[in-house]
């Protein structure tokens, strides 16, 4: 059912865990639907220095989370924003069609974390003003 790459990321997820003082946090999904992901980012000089994830969900949900962190690490914010559901699926050698929508939310979680980072930064700027 799953590609070797999906199984590899499921067996050995990269960047799994939490970041203690993250610059941005994004959570998407819902345990009711069977998938919930949280993505943490640490940003330095507009670059994603560190990224970690926590995921409740099926094999595809865990593998896409892991893959997304791998793709995002070291990228500038602008580069990271180009990471999409389809590019994550592609990097994993494809996903079963039924998993493309329900379990492929990691890119959305990353975007949510970036948005959170950007909003926090705006607020800080306002405070300084």
């Amino acid at each position: 059912m799953y590609s070797d790459k999906v199984m590899d990321h499921f067996k050995n997820p990269r960047n799994m865990g939490e970041i203690s003082n993250p610059d941005g946090v994004g959570t998407v999904g819902n345990p009711v639907c069977g998938d919930l992901m949280t993505m943490y980012i640490k940003v330095n000089n507009n670059r994603i220095e560190d990224v970690k994830f926590k995921t409740f969900g099926c094999g595809a949900a865990i593998a896409t989370s892991s893959m997304t962190t791998e793709l995002a690490k070291g990228k500038t914010i602008e580069e990271a924003l180009t990471i999409s559901r389809s590019s994550v699926a592609e990097s994993l050698g494809g996903l079963p069609p039924v998993k493309m929508h329900c379990s492929n939310l990691a890119a959305d979680a990353l975007h949510a974390a970036i948005k959170d980072y950007q909003e926090k930064r705006e607020k800080k700027k306002e405070v300084r003003k």
Partner: protein
Amino acid sequence: MVAQETRRVYMDYSAGKPVDLRVVKEMLPYMESSHGNPSSLYTFGQEAKRALDESRAKVAKLINAEKPETIIFTSGATESNNLAIKGAANRNKAQGTKILTSSVEHMSVVNTCKSLVKEGFQTVFLPVDEFGLLDLEKLEEEIDGETTLVSVVYANGEIGTIQPIKAISQIVHAKNAFLHVDATAACGQVPIDVNIEGIDLLTISSNDMYGPKGVGALYLKDGVHVAPILHGGGQERGLRSGTENVPGIVGLAKAAEIAQNEMQAESKRLTILRDSLIHGLLDPIPSSFLNGHPTMRLPDNVSVRYSFIEGESILLSLDLMGVYASSGSACTAKTLQPSHVLLAIGLKHEEAHGSLMLTLGKQTTQEDVDYVKNLMPSVVERLRKISPLTPKELKKECIRTK
């Protein structure tokens, strides 16, 4: 994660069983030499006819049916359920159009009942309690003069809960309705007596008794009539047209005979393994629960759930270690909804997603059970570490028990 092991432990017997070699042996002549059509007059055909008659008697004996003619051979449990429900509903339409069933039925009952709604019947899905037992008070409330048929599963294959059929039958018969029982998962595992238990129609599956796939039977009590759903040459008393699947039927009958002889010992053996596995899957793991009834339960069924993690990822982890099981998670189904049976016993969606079903069988050994017991804590612990839902206290406990 533990490296892939070569050991293979099949614990999904309810999804498919191997055919007993004694059954295969019995079937072979009817595929090779005795391949006549039972409807043919010549000796060759009559040999097949005799095999059919003998098979009918064997299946009748397993459920203590009054006579062999009460057994109608079909293509399997799905067809038997369709024939029983549509057949009885349509045949008795003049008496009433209300059909009652439970909310823990197999899809072949659920969707057959739903299809009748489009034809003008009223279908009521009765609730069950937290163990999956039918709410008898609700049954008494709902059953009325319009009710012609009540269809209840003998034992649900997902959670293993065995229904109090005799008590249900008394309520049903008091209102002059017929009782259809889907015994797909139960038949051959627990003793069934259609007379003592008051069953009017009974669905039997061959593969669930280690017979071949693609064959089943429907018991129709003497005097209970159904309208056929397949029309043609009028085989099986006109109730199931189509040339009889003689090798399959012979296989089903042999499987029934073996089940009758070996059920007692095998069920006792399986019950010990089942309880050993249930304890092994629950005792060492916090926030773990049993689905279904602890004692009114099929000997082969283990259904548990783990909070904070999802079923498919448990299955994948087990698969990597050679253990083949099943889950109530939507991710393993064709739909995005978790099992309706797990929701019916009151589980929340996220609880149903974390369910794991292991069904045991003839080839399951204590070593298999021990193997699964030993690896489960680490599987659950790993997935809980990945999950954002795991509470802090539990995480600490997980690390401590390492």
